[in-house]
């Protein structure tokens, strides 16, 4: 843990961060450029906010002690209700702090836009969030993986997201933030990892009884391993059945398929696929 990781952990947890440190999940344990930037942004806000919070934390006990009814030494000025100097200070300090924070926010928001590609020639993946499971389609590779996202650690990735029935939200916390996956719509999320590794991914939006199980593993592999892995997957997989979603829901899905059906994603993401009910 570096010092700036300790700061937010301790500041916010009050308690010791030991169990948290062992956890190594979430954007504070960043493993990709976006999460790393999120963490840095998070910490910088804490520092800025200290400008307004610390004086109060110091002043409050002093005032409570000095002006207490029984034995307090402070002067009693029962009609003291205004002081131009103090008022200028208490308006202008927050204005300045919020000014800086706003500047900071603007730049961070634009440069970390999840829609913004993180590098040239990203790996294209289409993610379909369904009840209890995620399907990842790799159009250029012609395969589909279930509940496992295979990334090339030397390449950035661009996810196209949609959901089968309800609103969901897809995130791999250690790599980048989340974006909603919505039925009948397509959204986008760009990801990259600093190094090979396995990172947890999940749906964050309540979607029904299977919600706690809507998780997937993101495996970022070194380039050569990634190619080999894709090959192996392709060799071991059968064709994608048309009723793949039902099968997976029934528990007799495979871990991967050959995507003969190139526009499965487009069909599910089309508003018309949801038809009129009743």
């Amino acid at each position: 843990m570096t010092p700036d990781r300790i700061l937010p952990t301790c500041l916010l947890f009050f308690a010791v961060g030991a169990p948290a440190a062992a956890q190594e999940q979430g954007f504070l344990w960043a493993a990709g450029p976006v999460a790393e930037a999120q963490r840095a942004h998070f910490v910088s806000i804490l520092w800025w906010m200290a400008v307004v919070t610390v004086p109060l934390l110091i002043g409050l006990p002093l005032i409570l002690w000095r002006y207490r009814l029984n034995g307090g030494g402070g002067r009693y000025r029962r009609d003291w209700g205004a002081s131009p100097l103090a008022e200028v200070a208490i308006w202008s300090v927050p204005v300045v702090v919020v000014g800086f924070l706003a500047w900071n926010l603007w730049h961070a928001t634009l440069s970390l836009d999840p829609y913004r590609p993180l590098g040239p020639d990203p790996l294209e993946v289409q993610a379909i969030a369904a009840e209890g499971h995620f399907l990842f389609l790799y159009p250029d590779e012609g395969i589909v993986t279930v509940d496992r996202l295979l990334l090339d650690a030397d390449r950035t990735a661009r996810l196209k997201l949609t959901s089968v029935d309800v609103l969901r939200s897809v995130m791999v916390p250690r790599l980048a933030g989340q974006i909603y996956a919505m039925p009948g719509m397509t959204t986008e999320l760009n990801l990259a990892a600093f190094a090979p590794g396995t990172y947890a991914g999940l749906n964050t939006q309540y979607s029904g009884p299977l919600f706690p199980e809507e998780r997937f593993e993101t495996e970022a592999l070194p380039e050569t391993n990634w190619h080999a892995r894709i090959e192996a997957t392709r060799d071991g997989a059968g064709p994608l059945p048309p009723d793949v979603l039902q099968r997976i829901a029934m528990g007799d899905g495979a871990e991967a398929y050959l995507a003969a059906d190139a526009d499965l994603f487009a069909r599910i993401a089309a508003p018309s696929s949801h038809g009129a009910h009743r």
Binding site: T9, L12, F13, A15, P19, Q25, G26, F27, L28, Q38, I45, L56, L60, I63, L64, Y67, L69, Y76, R77, R78, W80, G81, A86, E87, I90, W91, P94, V98, L101, L105, A108, T109, L112, Y115, D165, S169, P173, A176, G177, Q178, I179, Y180, P183, G184, M185, T187, L202, T204, Q205, Y206, G208, P209, F211, P212, P271, H274, G275, A276, H277, R278
Partner: protein
């Protein structure tokens, strides 16, 4: 035919029958909750009958249009609902803490029902009635008015809120509540995925309570514009009244999108509309938009009255004028205006352009400026004061500190960059509880302690009040600090079980905190009972137990039914302090006049009952019953408009007698120094400060 009147309601929907058919732990818990409710109702009915309290209940309370009694009834309703919602929070936490070892206590759908009812109840049936009740009781007194502008409407608002509470309570026994959370997003709550009665319970409970709140907003705003006593300029109103004004304006404009969004959802569900259904041109994103167009101003509806209460508490218990009155007024108004410009921060992650997110993020952070100003104004209010850490002041100082943390995490969440990482997580849950518990809930507890003597004539027991504080204050930290941590470790809200064993210690800590808060609530109940028992020693008939500063402390405790015998003179923000300083607070009046007060009316009760029945019938698609009940509501409204004789006169002699009796109490009381404020010597007369 019967279908028209009973709709889809069947025996199998009764929770007890469900348990009988499938007797597992999950259904046992549901049946136990339903059983507790039925027992509670039966016990109340028996008590009322045995004690012969039906008549006084009807005559003095249910049909009363007195703003003070309506306020008290709001608070009582909120406390009953709080008992349920806080118990639910404990069940959720206990379930999560045990869920990894085995299946936990409840089934996943039942867990979803619990967070949905907990959230819905806490917001609409605990926080809203609490603050509406306090505003009702205090605001007219503070501006020197005899009542609100529309007393009948006021009672109707209360009864609609009570009907909403009744509807949510009935869902314990008949059928199930929604599982879609307090925000009820489609498509999850749409007919395809949630075909049952659950979302309809949610829709109609919200409809009833939001109509009640809209009417309250109008009523209070008009009262503040029109009913201020002579001399009470806008800029002489106590700060609490300013927050009531801003809250009322927010209520008028913010509740409408909610009422509309839920009704549109109902049309989607039952009438084949497609406002939010995917395909056929509907768009679920519009629901999020409408919901938060209400939802964000709503959080300021919840917090502004709290800011008002804190302002009164800091100044009263520092024995000193509020610091930066004008700053606080402008800060309050700024917050009210800005609160309509930030709703998008609840869905930064919906895929809109980064520019839009940045604009709304900055707008959100701007609210931090007036909020920060307030915090420092409160701090400076204590400076040069004589600070007494009575129970409301304990809560107030605890609030100052915890509010900093809530403010910091709020600013963090206002940054889309950070929000992408913690949206939907327990970090967010921790943030909003951080605002709602030390902010709203504790402010309302402080308000109850502060104004209780004015309502009932005696102070609340201080020792038990401290017990409430010392249970709830650490309870909150224990219950919610772990959630910040879990949220940053990737723990999401509304998760029925966390498979990761590393969450376990945090979950147990959170459970322990929830138990402490529950214990704090129990202490509050004990405190009320103990105080009632010792009411003679705690009585403050002269009316001014805390050396109060604004007009509500002029007059006896409990307050005159007609609030003031004459028109109080107002020459300062701290109008009552000025009167005391000039020696005019306890003057006999030369002349007394007849006073007109609104006559009691059964109309609000009938309207509330019929509206509740209509809503219940809509839930179960019993169209005929619904139509009849709805027609009944309007028949009563029309019928009432023909009643001309709605006022009752209190003769001058009666006013004079009451006023003299109070002055005699004042004469009999010895003025107490603030040091002795908590002793039985405090009969409600404050010593002249040096």
């Amino acid at each position: 035919m019967i279908g028209l009147f009973l709709g889809t309601l069947r025996w199998d929907d009764v929770t007890f029958v469900e348990f009988w058919r499938t007797p597992d732990l999950n259904n046992a818990i549901a049946a136990a909750a339903a059983g507790l409710l039925v027992l509670g109702v039966v016990a109340t009915l028996i008590l009322l009958t045995v004690r012969g309290w039906w008549r006084p209940l009807w005559r003095d309370w249910l049909t009363s249009l007195d703003h003070k009694k309506i306020g008290i009834m709001y608070v009582a309703l909120a406390l009953v609902m709080f008992a349920r919602a806080v118990a639910e929070a404990n069940v959720m936490r206990a379930h999560q803490a045990t869920a990894a070892l085995d299946a936990g206590l409840v089934a996943p759908d039942h867990f979803a029902e619990l967070f949905s009812t907990h959230g819905t109840i806490m917001i609409f049936l605990v926080a809203m009635p609490l603050l509406t009740g306090i505003m009702n009781f205090v605001m007219p007194l503070q501006i020197g008015a005899r009542d609100v502008s529309f007393p009948l409407l006021n009672a109707i608002s209360l009864m609609l809120t009570a009907a909403a509470a009744g509807l949510v309570m009935v869902s314990l026994v008949l059928g199930h509540f929604s599982t879609g959370g307090w925000s009820g997003y489609p498509p999850y709550t749409g007919a395809d995925i949630s075909p049952g009665e659950g979302p309809d319970y949610w829709i109609w409970a919200l409809t009833l309570s939001s109509i009640g709140s809209t009417l309250t907003g109008m009523n209070f705003a008009v009262t503040l514009y029109k009913r201020r006593v002579q001399g009470m300029h806008l800029f002489r109103m106590p700060l609490f009244c300013w927050t009531v004004l801003c809250t009322s304006i927010l209520m008028i404009f913010a509740m409408a999108p909610l009422t509309l969004a839920t009704l549109m959802l109902w049309l989607d569900r039952h009438a084949g509309f497609h406002f939010f259904t995917v395909g056929s041109g509907g768009d679920m994103m519009n629901f999020a938009n409408l919901f938060w167009l209400f939802g964000h101003p709503e959080v300021y509806i919840l917090i502004l009255p709290a800011f008002g209460v804190w302002s009164e508490v800091f100044s009263t218990f520092s024995g000193k004028r509020l610091f930066g009155y004008l700053s606080l007024v402008y800060a309050t108004m700024a917050i009210a205006v800005l609160s309509f410009t930030v709703w998008l921060h609840h869905f930064f992650t919906m895929g809109q352009s980064a520019n839009v997110n940045a604009a709304f993020g900055i707008a959100t952070m701007l609210i931090g400026v007036p909020t920060g100003v307030k915090v420092y104004d409160w701090l400076l209010t204590m400076m040069f004061g004589r600070v007494r850490l009575r129970v409301p002041m304990l809560f107030a100082n605890y609030f100052l500190v915890t509010f900093l943390l809530g403010g910091v995490t709020g600013v963090l969440l206002a940054n889309p960059t950070v929000d992408y990482g913690v949206h939907n997580s327990l970090f967010l849950v921790a943030h909003f509880h951080n605002m709602l518990i030390p902010g709203t809930l504790f402010a309302m507890l402080a308000a109850i302690h502060l104004w209780f003597p004015k309502a009932f004539g005696f102070r609340l027991h201080e020792g038990w009040g401290r017990a409430v504080f010392w249970l709830m204050a650490p309870g909150f930290l224990l219950a919610f600090m772990p959630l910040y941590a879990m949220g940053m470790m990737g723990g999401m809200r509304r998760t029925a079980y966390f498979s990761d064993p590393l969450f376990r210690p945090w979950l147990w800590a959170a459970e322990a905190g929830a138990v402490l808060i529950l214990a704090g609530f129990a202490a509050l109940v004990v405190q009320i009972v103990v105080s009632v028992r010792r009411r003679d020693a705690l009585a403050v008939p002269a009316g001014d137990p805390w050396d109060g500063r604004s007009l509500e402390w002029l007059g006896p405790a409990p307050a005159f039914e007609f609030n003031f015998a004459g028109e109080p003179k107002v020459e300062d923000v701290d109008a009552f302090t000025a009167l005391k300083a000039q020696g005019e607070a306890y003057r006999r009046q030369e002349t007394y006049e007849d006073i007109e007060m609104p006559r009691n009316s059964a109309v609000p009760v009938v309207i509330g009952a019929l509206a509740g029945l209509a809503a219940f019938a809509m839930v179960w698609q019993a169209w005929a019953t619904a139509a009849l009940a709805f027609a009944g509501v309007w028949a009563v409204v029309i019928g009432r408009s023909f009643v001309r004789d709605t006022e009752r006169t209190i003769p001058a002699a009666e006013v004079e007698a009451a006023h003299r009796a109070w002055l005699a109490d004042v004469a009999a009381a010895t003025p107490v120094h603030r040091r002795d404020e908590l002793t039985p010597e405090n009969r409600g007369l404050a010593e002249e400060p040096l």
